[in-house]
């Protein structure tokens, strides 16, 4: 099994690249005019999960970005998904 250092050697640069891209995305949204929508709110709600000391962070982020209602919808008004619950 690879050690922590092995995992860092393999994936640190990729994770660093993605972390900076997230930061740049937030700057980009803020810099542009108009109102953001529920997607940005959902995104910001999920961000603190990254700082948790508990395992299962990916699961927790996915759950934060999920629809938690339980009853089937009466009808489909759209065919696609947004990536965050409305």
């Amino acid at each position: 099994m690879p050690s922590k250092k092995d995992i860092l050697d393999l994936h640190f640069m990729d994770a660093r690249y993605k972390l900076i891209d997230l930061a740049a995305f937030l700057d980009r949204v803020e810099r542009h005019p108009g109102e953001a929508d529920f997607r940005l709110a959902g995104f910001k709600k999920a961000l603190p999960i990254l700082l948790s000391d508990q395992p299962g962070r990916a699961k927790a982020v996915l759950e934060a970005l999920s629809d938690h209602s339980t009853e089937p919808a009466e009808a489909a008004t759209i065919q696609f998904a947004y990536g965050a619950p409305q």
Binding site: P2, H68, S69, P72, A73, A75
Partner: protein, 267 residues
């Protein structure tokens, strides 16, 4: 690297992709019926699609030495109109005896509606009546968790269902154990922009019961990579997985599930 691609939509891919798959070591390929990127206007459109899946694509794949199998259904995106969906379903039995048909799929939910759920349950009954395996699509993004729970609840009402003959596809970290704990198989889809990255899939292989997991590319007309499975195998190698472990996940697992269909035969 010897592997099986258990979920690919080759009707949307070029012949060049078959060559790449063959060069990469693809030993068999399975193609579930799906949404073509637009809604078909008549059952006749589906009739021709099923002909393409059961006749034309196996011949195209054979030119590259790849055995091609398929799953049949009307996908959930086009199942919101139940009258239309039932018309399409009425033509499916004519194709189920074709020699490369594995079972019913990819059925499931898209926007988690009552009509989608009704058509899903009718497909499950069709599979039970024919004693066929089932391949299930779970919804995208924010709809996946709710849809997976609705699907598992619906399956629970079929007392005669052999859960080992059902695979619930497109699982992610928040749904994989819901599926495995109920006794079903689970599929992880490797997409460049959504679903799983190779490394997330390997994380799940490390932390879940990997005996009932498979990997697929689900390559189609959208952003996807027909070589995603074999690239994940390469990532497994970088993460010090043995050749035996890689072959178990990429070849033996899908072979074990798919062999439950009498039509799945590979050399």
């Amino acid at each position: 690297m010897k592997y099986i691609e258990p979920h690919a939509h080759m009707v949307s891919r070029t012949t060049d992709d078959y060559e790449k798959l063959a060069l990469a070591g693809c030993a068999a390929l399975c193609e579930p019926a799906f949404w073509a990127g637009f809604d078909r206007s008549s059952p006749a459109g589906f009739y021709d699609y099923y002909r393409q899946l059961t006749d034309y694509e196996p011949k195209r794949a054979a030119k590259y030495g790849i055995p091609h199998f398929c799953w049949l259904c009307i996908n959930p995106k086009e199942a919101e109109d139940p009258v239309f969906a039932r018309e399409v379903m009425s033509i499916i039995p004519e194709f189920l005896d074709k020699p490369t048909v594995l079972g019913i799929g990819e059925i499931g939910l898209n926007k988690n509606t009552r009509n989608e759920l009704a058509i899903f349950e009718e497909h499950v009954q069709l599979a039970l009546d024919r004693d066929l395996p089932i391949l299930i699509h779970t919804p995208h993004l924010e709809d996946k968790l709710k849809g997976t729970k609705l699907i598992l609840d619906a399956l629970g009402s079929f007392s005669k269902l052999d859960r080992g003959k059902v695979i619930v596809d497109h699982v992610e970290e928040h749904t994989v154990n819901l599926v495995l704990e109920k006794g079903y198989w689970a599929g992880m889809t490797l997409y460049p922009e959504s679903k799983c990255t190779p490394n997330r899939a390997i994380d799940m292989l490390e932390t879940c019961d990997s005996d009932r997991l498979w990997l697929n590319s689900a390559c189609d007309w959208g952003v996807s990579d027909p070589l995603a499975v074999v690239k994940c195998g390469f990532e497994m190698k970088r993460r010090k997985k043995s050749a035996e472990e890689i072959e178990r996940v990429l070849f033996e697992n899908p072979k074990r599930f798919l062999s439950q269909s009498p039509n799945f035969k590979i050399g």
